[in-house]
Structures are given as C-alpha cells and as structure tokens.
Subunit: 197 residues, 2 copies
C-alpha cells in the first residue's frame, strides 16, 4: 500500500516536472521575443515623436525681418529652399509610416512568433532609414552653408540676418537625425529578433 | 523466384527514394542559402566598384579656369566645400569596409549556416546604409545648389563657370547613390537569409 502510494507520487512528480519543462522553454523564448516586441513599439513611438517634431518645426518656420525696402520685404520660410521642402515631405511620410506601422508592432507583441509581420516591418524600416537620413543630411548641408557661408563659391551666410529661422531649422535637423538613428536601432532589433526565430 | 526479385527491387527502390528524400531537404536548404550568399558577394563587389568610383571621381576633381585676375586664379576642387570633403571620406570608408567584408561574405558562401557572420555583416551594413546615404544626399543638395543657385538667399549658380567640375561631381553623387541602394539590398538579403535560418 505504502509502496504503491510512493510510486504514484513519483509518477505525478515526473509528469509535473515534464509539463513544467515542456512549457518553460517556449514561454521563456516567447517572453524574450515579447520583450523585444515591446521595446520595438516604444522605439517606434519615440521615432514618431522625433519625426513629427522635425516636420512641424520645419513646416512652421517663417521669419519676417522688421525692415523692408521699397520693393520687397525680407522673409524666410522653409519653401524658399527645395531641400527644406524635401525635408518636410520626407519627415511627414516617415511620421505617416510610423503611425501605420504601430498596429503591426502590436501584432508582434501579441503574437511574438509572427515572423511575417516582423520581416514586413524590417523591409519598410530599412527604406525609411535611407529616406530620413537623406532628408536630415541634405538639410544639414544647407544649414551648415547658411550658418557659415562659403567664400570659395561666394555664398554668404544668411544666418546673420535670419538667426531665428536658422535656429529653428537646426532644431528640426537634429530631430530628424534622432529619428534616423532610432530607425537604425529598429532595423537592428528586428534583425536580432529574426535571428532568434 | 520472379516474385522474390520484384520484391527486392521494390525494397531497393524504396531505400533509394528514401535516401534521396533524406538528403534532399538540407541540401536544397543549404543550396538556396549558398545562392543567397553568392548573390551577397556579387552585390558587395558592385557596391565596392560604385563607392570607389565615387571616391576617385570626387577626389580627383579639380578645375582651373583659363582666365585669372591680378589677385587670384579661379580654381574649384572638392575641398573647397566641406560637404564634398565629407563625401570623399565617407565613400573611402565605405570602400574600405567593403574590402574588409568580402572575406566574411566568402565565409557565408563556404558555410551557409554560419548565422553569426551574417548578423555581423548586417549590423555594419545598416550603419553603412545611413553613412553612404548621408554622404550622397548632402552632396546632392550642394550640387543642386551649384547647378541652380537660389534667388532667395542670393546664392549664385557656380556651374555656369565650373561646368566640368559640376559634371564630375554630379557623376560622383550618382555613383554614391548607387552604392547606397546596393547597401539597402544587401541588408534586405541578409534579413531574408536570417529569417530562413
């Protein structure tokens, strides 16, 4: 009687330990994948904020100088330079893409093993890395020129007059650069998550 | 006798088909992975050629105008503009990285299941995407300005005088853009290869 009971207990112990072991590995794996997915979502929200700040700061920059001549008033806005117009469009597209990508990021949190959604996000993210970097870099080149001018080409620094304009534009470029760096981290995160799959 | 022989043949057929089937799946998988790795190597060589062409074209551009004043001679070279200097440095770094990455790419061809080497390449590739895109985009912004000028900021188009200089610089920008696009494809290829793992 006693021996039978002990055997029963052993049997139960074995099945219990088996079930625990059987559940542990995928749970642990799914947990770390879910952690990566949640981090991905947080990074996406950060990138969205940065891209929106860049778009709005650049888009609303408009400085009118307090003096004017007989013929025209001195005014600077983002659409005076084609590079800045591209900057606004590129960052607006990046913001729109980030809003659309949030549901897919949530799918990755709910279903950590959905590799299809992750690969889709990675493909678009890498294109957006190039896009936001191009916008930030070209605007940075122009802002540098506006700040320092260039004596070899006789391009004068316009920031001496339009200092407020230049400061806001520089801020927008920094925000866009932050968005680009976050995009790079998003791609790295997706690649590491795919590797573990 | 006849019946026994037929059974033997069937048995041999079964084992043969079994062995073929047993070998086919990993071989096919390794084969497709090797195909991806070879394509990766070819793309890397293409990017190397494009980055080298961009570096050399920009680095050797130097135009001296046939007329000169009492005080100075009109001359244009890449180091007159800081953006072009950055362009040369960035593309030189990209070329150097591509040369160093070729052995790793060969490792991926020889051992198609080495996911570590592939992940390492992917991490550096994504950084280089941002790097080459930034170089190409900032140089493109300056080249656009050199071609068209900007009436709002009183920056005059210098390409009317330095037409040869502008043509070579434009060529270098196009080569760098090609390198950036190839880098994007390299990252996509690595991501797809990691997904299959």
């Amino acid at each position: 009687m006693d021996s039978t009971k002990r055997t029963d207990e052993t049997a139960i112990n074995i099945t219990e330990s088996k079930s625990v072991k059987g559940k542990a590995t995928p749970n642990q794996h799914g947990g770390s994948k879910r952690g990566v997915a949640i981090f991905d979502f947080v990074l996406r929200v950060c990138a969205l904020v940065a891209a929106l700040v860049a778009t709005i700061t650049m888009g609303t920059t408009d400085q009118t100088l307090p003096f004017f001549t007989q013929f025209f008033q001195f005014q600077a806005s983002y659409d005076d330079l084609p590079t800045f117009t591209f900057f606004v469009i590129a960052n607006a597209i990046a913001s729109g893409y980030l809003v659309l990508s949030l549901p897919f990021s949530i799918v990755c949190i709910v279903r950590p093993h959905a590799a299809g959604a992750r690969l889709l996000l990675l493909i678009f993210d890498i294109v957006l890395v190039a896009f936001t970097t191009a916008a930030a870099a070209s605007a940075a080149a122009i802002v540098y020129l506006a700040h320092n001018g260039n004596s070899n080409t006789n391009w004068l620094a316009i920031c001496q007059q339009f200092d407020d304009f230049c400061q806001r534009v520089s801020g927008a470029v920094v925000a866009s650069l932050i968005a680009a760096v976050v995009f790079v981290f998003l791609v790295l995160l997706s690649a590491v998550a795919l590797r573990r799959h």
